[in-house]
Symmetry: C2
Subunit: 346 residues, 2 copies
């Protein structure tokens, strides 16, 4: 059975193609009688509009792309969930690209491989530089998620959280609990690693503020932000640094670190407190449950979709900068006594 077209429906209903189109699109001036006859024909053939033709005509496809490093990372999977929901509310479909945090792949994504198929791009870059961005031709609107790229003013809308403040608060919490040898896991040696740098900055600010001496040997670099990297970094820290707390730049690092600690018989939080960042589901069911910085992911997704929508409807003002609030979620991994509930910050 071939897919029916407007023409087929029109013939069956005994009207013109355009009238069927009008019915499909709820154009007001169609008599009830005609509308009913057309509706019946549509139902009989179970006609569905051809979206390719529609978008060719309209110059819009109703599809937006979401480019993230890796859906394997629960943070991005959760973010994707929210993005898909927010897009759905606008009738958009989401198409997902995985960049693996690879600069080459990220370049391909912004250079618009699927130009013309997507109306807009939500992009969470890892490795891209400001220069890569500058070379982009601005045909498809793009909203950046997560970290800003490049130091200067970028022409792109951006949604993120205040990483410095969040990291600072997280670290301060550890200091307030009396910890003095607070380690950090997550700095990266790569040229660009904006997020890591900001979280490091917050960490350092907090140490200074709390009067805790900063010990460089307590800052553990990693290649990537996965569980294995966290586990391995923690191992190194235990061998050399004797930390009594560790602030991990994301939750998967923290879960990896937690694994190492428990495996090596360190009591958490008694001997070493652990603090993560992202508030992924796993952290809530780890043992001990993981204290973490909880960005409002749903709001990040919603804001990004809204910004994109504005651009799509012709908004051309200067780039918006949205800073989404975050909470600190205090759980067992930093809680010796079972005090104090979550606190909302920012």
């Amino acid at each position: 059975m071939v897919r029916p077209r407007l023409k087929d429906v029109a013939e069956l209903a005994g009207v013109s193609i355009k009238t069927v189109s009008n019915v499909v699109n709820d154009y007001p001036h169609v008599s009830d009688e005609t509308r009913a006859r057309v509706a019946a024909a549509i139902a009989e053939l179970s006609y569905r509009p051809n979206l390719s033709a529609r978008s060719l005509r309209a110059g819009r496809s109703g599809v937006v792309a979401l480019a993230v490093p890796d859906l394997d990372n629960p943070y991005f999977a959760e973010l994707a969930t929210h993005v898909i929901e927010a897009a759905d509310r606008r009738g958009w479909t989401v198409l997902i690209d995985q960049t693996q945090g690879d600069r080459t792949k990220e370049r391909v994504v912004i250079s618009g491989i699927r130009d013309h198929l997507i109306d807009g791009l939500l992009f969470s870059p890892l490795a891209l530089t400001g220069k890569d961005l500058a070379g982009r031709d601005e045909r498809t609107p793009m909203v950046l998620l997560g970290e800003r790229i490049g130091m200067g003013r970028s022409p792109y809308d951006h949604v993120g959280i205040d990483n410095v403040a969040a990291a600072r608060a997280a670290t301060l919490h550890l200091a307030e609990r009396g910890r003095r040898r607070i380690a950090a896991i997550g700095v990266q040696r790569t040229a660009v690693a904006a997020t890591g740098r900001l979280r490091l900055k917050g960490y350092q600010q907090a140490l200074a503020e709390a009067g805790v001496p900063a010990d460089p040997s307590l800052v553990a670099p990693v290649a990537r932000w996965g569980r294995a990297d966290g586990a391995e970094a923690m191992s190194r820290l235990l061998d050399s640094g004797a930390p009594d707390a560790v602030f991990c730049f994301n939750d998967t690092l923290a879960l990896g670190a937690l694994r190492t600690l428990l495996k090596r018989g360190c009591e958490v939080p008694g001997e070493v407190m652990v603090m993560g960042f992202d508030d992924i589901q796993d952290g809530r069911f780890a043992t001990p449950t993981l204290s973490t910085v909880a960005p409002d992911k749903a709001l990040i997704a919603q804001s990004a979709v809204d910004l994109l929508a504005e651009r799509l409807s012709g908004g051309t003002g200067k780039a918006h900068e949205v800073c989404v609030p975050h909470r600190l979620a205090f759980r067992e991994s930093t809680d010796v006594l079972g005090e104090e509930p979550s606190r909302t910050l920012n």
Copy 2:
């Protein structure tokens, strides 16, 4: 700057539209000189073909949809990763739909909302019945992932694993370790819950085979397969059933159960062994690390994509049934003594 069309390139290069098209598509009969001139014009305007127009013309879009219950679930996130990669190898783009395991949404997905935009559908259903499937019009090829739907022969290609055998092996492992009060978490009360039923069957077979009496009070029903459900079910089991092992129908259930066990001071695996299903990343970094059934997710994805490709290139034979192998991964949660490495089955 407006997006250039073939026409613009043609004018700049001083040739006809079709010649440019021929260059773009590597049509052989174009002189080197012309080809070079056109290539230069394409580069200068940074022309990109309009995919909507192309798919209108070709009747193909190069986009396939992957419909899963929920990307939040790491199993589906990991599966999606593999699907995207496999699709990429064929030059396809993947568009993701989340059904929430909701029958209404699943019906919408198979009824082809985005018909004409997607060339094919990879569908991992949860709530759908054979009847829903029967009513589908077969315009867009579909491959089912995970459980077969309906008892009879479905006309759709299907990729899955041998759930009964896998669950049986997992349960047997617990019995072989001397456990006699082996609980199961994951049966669902909903009308359709094929996967759960199959895993229950494997569990029951194993008990019978091992000569362990089946105690209905050790079978804990859940509403969904999330961490919270596992935690809560485990709590009920501890209150009433005194299990010495628990086989969870997926890893998130198992991680939830693990959380409850540790929180209530049960030693794992000493007092209660825990076995999961899916081999999600989290399980490898839980403490204790989670023993689990490890389906070959990459192969599932690859097979599904291959089947779809065959249908798309005109294959019309009867439905294929692909059973992908799985391994048992024995980790700390069932390992009292540190014996025995992973074993490959099926």
